[in-house]
Every structure is written in structure tokens, then in C-alpha cells.
């Protein structure tokens, strides 16, 4: 069943991060997952990914710039022939540090902001960081790097979509991802506080439509969240199909959230080649293609477009990863998702915990 062509490597370099976003997609127990690959090991992973067909690497985390050897990592990714893309929260990165990364072969930056103003953004991030993020955005522009801004949207900041678009225009970003929170990891724990109302989403949708009409730049990416659209997201372009995640400890996964699905054995890039981990790990093959599907997915015409949705969401909300993703309007087990929608209300959230971990 193996042999799918890999396109894209997601390299989670570390789970350490100075920010404390309440929707962080890292595992809840992130602090116990150590940085297991040194720069040489990452260089090997990059070469192996390129040999499997990959053309692109996203260097992410946690916060990749929390690694002191990031420039060596960027250089080896570029040398492996991968288009090298940095996903960063902007701290502890500095403009000079970004220049070094550009010289090492970095081509593009995706910078997260948490809201449209310093006060609001810093409050969600749990750290004073907004002004430093802006300085990274300006540096990216000056250095000729492609610049995407990313904002995770939820109840607290959805009303500011217009202001966020203005920030992106002022910074001359190429692209603005208005990414509705995915309710997994920390976001699932904070779902009552974060999940927006349909009215909020409709208002934001209208603002995006109007702004798209007003100007071509930046490209605005806006997708109605799966909790409300009735359509599941084609998670990761299909399990083990185009994209591979290598976690900080070296675990090779089909998706950043697949680590805690029960009963699945994934392999580690520290112990085996990436090709083995990608092609042959039992966990990687568990939901490849369609044989695992149940009804209604098994006979549904949409199955080659959305692959039955997100396995992790199916597991978290129904207890069985082979069920249809409850985000789908056709799913038999939608109750808990609909309940969550009804229950959402302004409440306090828990910030992503700050655990101690040694740097490398």
C-alpha cells in the first residue's frame, strides 16, 4: 500500500515556544517531548524526503527559532533542493537572524499574529510579542522573502477580521491566512471559550468578500470552519498521501495530531530511514487509501475529495478514528459537535502550559 509520492515535509523542529496560545495545535504533553534530532539528523531527513519526491519543507514547531542551530537546518534543507519555508511566531527570531536565514537559503516566511492590535494580540499570545512580530514582517519584506501572515480565528478575534486585513495590507504581505481554529489539542480543551457563533462567522465572511473585491492583495485565505460548514476538511490532503510530519522527537506521522491515536504504531526517523517510516509503518498505512472506511464514507462520491475528513477529529469526538468525521453533515455521530456549538459562550481559557525544557 506504500509508495505514495511525497510532496511536502512538515519538520516540527521543537515544541518549545515562548507564546502560550490557547488553541495551540501541539500535543497537550508537549513539554515531555524532547528535541530528538540534531542538525545533522535533520539534514539526513531532508535528503531522504527529497529522494521520496518532496519539493517543499515547512520548518515549524513550536517555535523553530527557539533552536539555536536553525541556520544550519535551513542551509541543509535548501541544499537538499527543498523550497524552504519558515513558520514562525516571530520570537525569539530577530531581523538580523532572519537575514542570516535568508542567506542560508530560506525563501518564505509565514508569521503568526494573534490579533490586530498589540494589546489584543499579546493577551492571546500570553506574551508581549506583537511589535517584534511586526519588525520580522518588515524585515521579510526588505529581504525579498515571500510573506504570509497567519491568524487563528476564534470567538475573541473574529470581529477584527477587517482590521487584520488592514494590518496585512500595511505590512504588504503576499497572503493572509484567516484560519479558523481547528478543535484539537489545546483548542479542544478550550473549545467552549473559543468556538464562535454562526453570526460572527457570517459577519466575518461578508467582510472578507468585500475586501477581496476591493483589492487583489494580499491574497485572502478564508474557509468556513468545518464545525459550521457541514463539510469535513480534507485533512492533510489525505492520510499518508502527500505530506509527512516529522515531530521533534523524530516520530514520523501523517498529521501533527496523529501521535495519540490509540493502537497505531509509528516509526522514528532516528531509528529508520524516512522512506521506511513513510512507506511501511503500520500507523502510516492504517488509513491510507479507502479500505478502512465505513459507511457512509465507503460509498460516498466525496470520498476521493475529503477522504472522510479528519481521523483525529473522528476519534476525539466519537471514540473511533474509523468513523465519519462528525463535521460531515452526513455523519451518524454528530451530536457532540452540535452540542459544542450550542454550548459555546464567553468563558476563561487555559493558556498553553509553560513547561521547563532544556534548549539544545
Amino acid at each position: 500500500m506504500s509508495g505514495a509520492r511525497l510532496w511536502n515535509l512538515i519538520a516540527e523542529l521543537t515544541y518549545r515556544c515562548p507564546l502560550r496560545c490557547p488553541y495551540c495545535s501541539n500535543p497537550k504533553e508537549w513539554a515531555s517531548i524532547r528535541d530528538g534530532l540534531d542538525a545533522d539528523a535533520w539534514a539526513r531527513v531532508f535528503r531522504e524526503a527529497a529522494a521520496l519526491g518532496a519539493v517543499h519543507v515547512g520548518l515549524t514547531g513550536g517555535e523553530p527559532s527557539a533552536r539555536r542551530d536553525l541556520d544550519a537546518i535551513v542551509r541543509s534543507a535548501a541544499e537538499a533542493g527543498l523550497y524552504t519555508h519558515l513558520v514562525t511566531a516571530g520570537v525569539p527570531l530577530t531581523p538580523d537572524g532572519l537575514a542570516t536565514l535568508r542567506d542560508a537559503g530560506l525563501r518564505s516566511v509565514q508569521l503568526s499574529i494573534q490579533d490586530a492590535t498589540a494589546a489584543a494580540s499579546d493577551r492571546i499570545a500570553g506574551t508581549e510579542s506583537f511589535e517584534r512580530k511586526l519588525s520580522i514582517a518588515r524585515a521579510a519584506r526588505e529581504l525579498g522573502l515571500a510573506l504570509t501572515l497567519n491568524v487563528v480565528l476564534h470567538r475573541e478575534n473574529l470581529a477584527n477580521v477587517g482590521a487584520l486585513i488592514e494590518v496585512a495590507r500595511t505590512l504588504d504581505a503576499d497572503r493572509l491566512e484567516l484560519a479558523n481554529a481547528q478543535y484539537d489539542g489545546w483548542a479542544l480543551a478550550n473549545r467552549d471559550a473559543l468556538l464562535p457563533s454562526r453570526e460572527q462567522l457570517e459577519a466575518a465572511s461578508a467582510v472578507v468578500a468585500e475586501e477581496r473585491f476591493r483589492a487583489l492583495r494580499p491574497e485572502l485565505v478564508w474557509v468556513l470552519p468545518d464545525y459550521f460548514s457541514g463539510r469535513p476538511k480534507p485533512c492533510m490532503g489525505g492520510w499518508g498521501r502527500r505530506l509527512v510530519v516529522v515531530a521533534p522527537d523524530g516520530l514520523v506521522l501523517p498529521c501533527h495530531a496523529a501521535r495519540d491515536l490509540p493502537g497505531l504504531a509509528f516509526w522514528n526517523a532516528r531509528e529508520r530511514s524516512l522512506a521506511e517510516c513513510w512507506n511501511d509503518a503500520p500507523g502510516m498505512n492504517a488509513y491510507r487509501d479507502e479500505a478502512w472506511m465505513r459507511e457512509p464514507c465507503r460509498s460516498c462520491v466525496k470520498r476521493s475529495e475529503d477522504f472522510g475528513g479528519c481521523r483525529c477529529q473522528a476519534f476525539r469526538l466519537t471514540g473511533d478514528a474509523t468513523n465519519t468525521d462528525p463535521a460531515c453533515a452526513l455523519a451518524p455521530q454528530r451530536a457532540s459537535l452540535l452540542d459544542a456549538r450550542a454550548r459555546a459562550a464567553p468563558t476563561a481559557w487555559i493558556a498553553r502550559g509553560v513547561g521547563a525544557q532544556e534548549g539544545n
Binding site: G53, V55, Y83, R107, Q110, A146, R175
Partner: protein
């Protein structure tokens, strides 16, 4: 529960306000045409593409005609078919447009073949016919009301051509001259019809929406013509590389996506040097491969798609 209908004078004012805001006389391409700054090639592209619109007018007028059960309406409306198609070969608005095409240096047969019609122009014109076909009589007449604004644009256009494009033989402007008379006549009939028949607020709103949609369609036609003369070049953020898995194929890699480019695509991208317009690129390839059918359309579609995906940027 619906709102009360607008008084006829207010309704008419609302219809006219749509023209003031959205009619294509305000489109940048049209402003440049009237300011005299279009190149000969741009004028030619406009004339060649606008011909497709001209061919759609009698088609949509026939559709409107077929919606009416009233002989008096049909007697009036059929006049438009005569205006465009003429009473005999060699007469009428379409013929006049072909003469204009010849005067601006195009081959008549080439224009008539519609081979060089841009995909965006085709979409816009087809959308107009579809709008008329799917509307009732009232809605389709309302969509025609852009004629209210057409008389003025023609007068300005004739003056602009005489002043700025002296290379165009004044004989060729006969179409514009004919429309300065026909458009106001047609419009006053259409307007009277709409004012009389749109009696409820929902009907009035429908008419306003149809007229807005028509303005958008005309606007997007000029968008497409204008874009054909922008000069595409590879985005600085793109890496174009060979695909090790598929010999001969390339991949354009961007921050957020990879795009497969086959050998034909590579030949097109190689011409995107930021100096040639899309139209010029399409012509070069057409001359290079005269045997390939629909090549002009395919090249424009490819360039549009690559621009949308961020592989190309327009200068």
C-alpha cells in the same frame, strides 16, 4: 411583509444611479481609450473581443422577443434585430463593427472566426446571454437598460477617436454614430416598459439587481481586455525545477503550493519575460504552432490560471 414600491421618479433615479456608479465608461481601460493612451494593439484587442459581444446582442434580443406575448412590444423590440443584423447581407450593426475591425487593421475573417476571443470576454458575454435567458421579460428588459448610458459614451468615443487615433479611418466609426441615435430610442422604450411593469418593490429590486449585474458583466469584459495587455513574469518567489519523478515535467514551487507544468506550459512560461503582453505571447505561440486548434484561448487560459495561482505576476 415587503416594502412599499418606490415612486416611479425615485425608481428611475435609482436605475440611473447604477449607471453613474458602475457603467463601464468609468473602467480604467475605457478612460484610457478616451484619453488617447491606448496602443494600436490594445485598440485591436478591444475591437476583436468586443465583436463577440456584438454577436451576442441579437441572440439575447431574440430571447427577449420570445418572452413577450404582446404584439406591440414585439413590433418595437424586433427593430433591434434589424439594427444589428440589417435587412440584407452587408447591412446592420454587426457589419459596421466588422468594418471598424478592418479600419483598425484586423482581418475580417479572423475577427469573424472568433478565434482570438479572450476566455474572460467569452465568459462575460455568455453570462449576459444566460442572465437574459434565465430572467423573465421584465428582468431581461431591465438588464438591457445600460442603453440609458450608452448614448453619451458613443459621443465621447467618436470625438476621442477623431482626436487621438487619427490612424483609424473615420469611415470605420459608423457603428458608434449609428448608436448615438439608436441607444437613446431603445432606452426610452425599455425604461418606460420597466417603469410601467415593475409595480411591486420586489419587482423593482429585481430590476435594479439585473441592471447592476449587467454593469458588472460589461466591466469584467474590459477587465479581460485590459489584462491581455499586462506583461506576465515569473513571481520572484517561485522556484521552477525539474520533477525527478516525471522526466520532462517541471514543478513551480511556491510558499504554499506546488504546480505541475508540462512541456507546453514550460514553452509558454519561457516567453513570460515581463516584456511581452499575454496577447503577444499568445500570438507568438499561434504563429509557431499554426496547426494547433484553440491555441490562443488555451494560452490565455493557462496564463490566467498561473496568475491566479501566484506562479506569474503581471507587470
Amino acid at each position: 411583509m415587503t416594502d412599499a414600491p418606490l415612486a416611479p421618479a425615485d425608481f428611475e433615479a435609482r436605475l440611473r444611479a447604477i449607471g453613474t456608479e458602475r457603467y463601464h465608461d468609468k473602467h480604467p481601460f475605457n478612460l484610457r481609450m478616451h484619453a488617447g493612451t491606448l496602443s494600436r494593439e490594445e485598440i485591436q484587442t478591444w475591437v476583436r473581443n468586443r465583436y463577440y459581444y456584438q454577436t451576442r446582442i441579437p441572440v439575447k434580443d431574440s430571447a427577449i422577443l420570445a418572452k413577450s406575448g404582446d404584439a406591440a412590444f414585439r413590433r418595437e423590440w424586433v427593430q433591434r434585430l434589424h439594427d444589428h443584423d440589417g435587412r440584407a447581407p452587408g447591412e446592420g450593426g454587426l457589419e459596421m463593427w466588422l468594418r471598424l475591425a478592418e479600419t483598425v487593421g484586423l482581418e475580417r475573417a479572423d475577427v469573424e472566426s472568433l478565434a482570438g476571443v479572450l476566455p474572460g470576454v467569452r465568459r462575460a458575454c455568455d453570462a449576459y446571454v444566460a442572465l437574459v435567458e434565465s430572467s423573465d421579460l421584465l428582468g431581461s428588459v431591465a438588464a438591457s437598460l445600460t442603453e440609458l448610458f450608452a448614448g453619451d459614451i458613443m459621443t465621447t468615443r467618436i470625438a476621442a477617436f477623431e482626436k487621438h487615433y487619427a490612424w483609424v479611418d473615420p469611415e470605420g466609426l459608423a457603428y458608434f454614430r449609428s448608436r448615438t441615435k439608436q441607444a437613446p430610442r431603445d432606452a426610452s422604450f425599455g425604461l418606460a416598459f420597466v417603469l410601467e411593469h415593475a409595480r411591486t418593490r420586489p419587482d423593482q429590486d429585481r430590476c435594479l439587481a439585473a441592471l447592476e449585474r449587467k454593469c458588472e458583466i460589461l466591466w469584467s469584459l474590459l477587465d479581460a481586455v485590459e489584462a491581455a495587455h499586462r506583461r506576465p513574469v515569473l513571481s520572484p518567489h517561485v522556484v521552477l525545477r525539474d520533477d525527478a519523478e516525471r522526466p520532462g515535467q517541471q514543478i513551480a514551487v511556491l510558499p504554499e503550493r506546488g504546480v505541475r507544468v508540462n512541456e507546453s506550459g514550460q514553452e509558454i512560461l519561457a516567453l513570460c519575460d515581463g516584456g511581452r503582453s499575454s496577447e503577444a505571447i499568445a500570438r507568438v505561440l499561434h504563429d509557431r504552432h499554426p496547426e494547433v486548434p484553440h491555441l490562443l484561448i488555451d494560452v490565455h487560459e493557462f496564463l490566467e490560471q498561473m496568475t491566479r495561482l501566484g506562479v506569474l505576476v503581471l507587470r
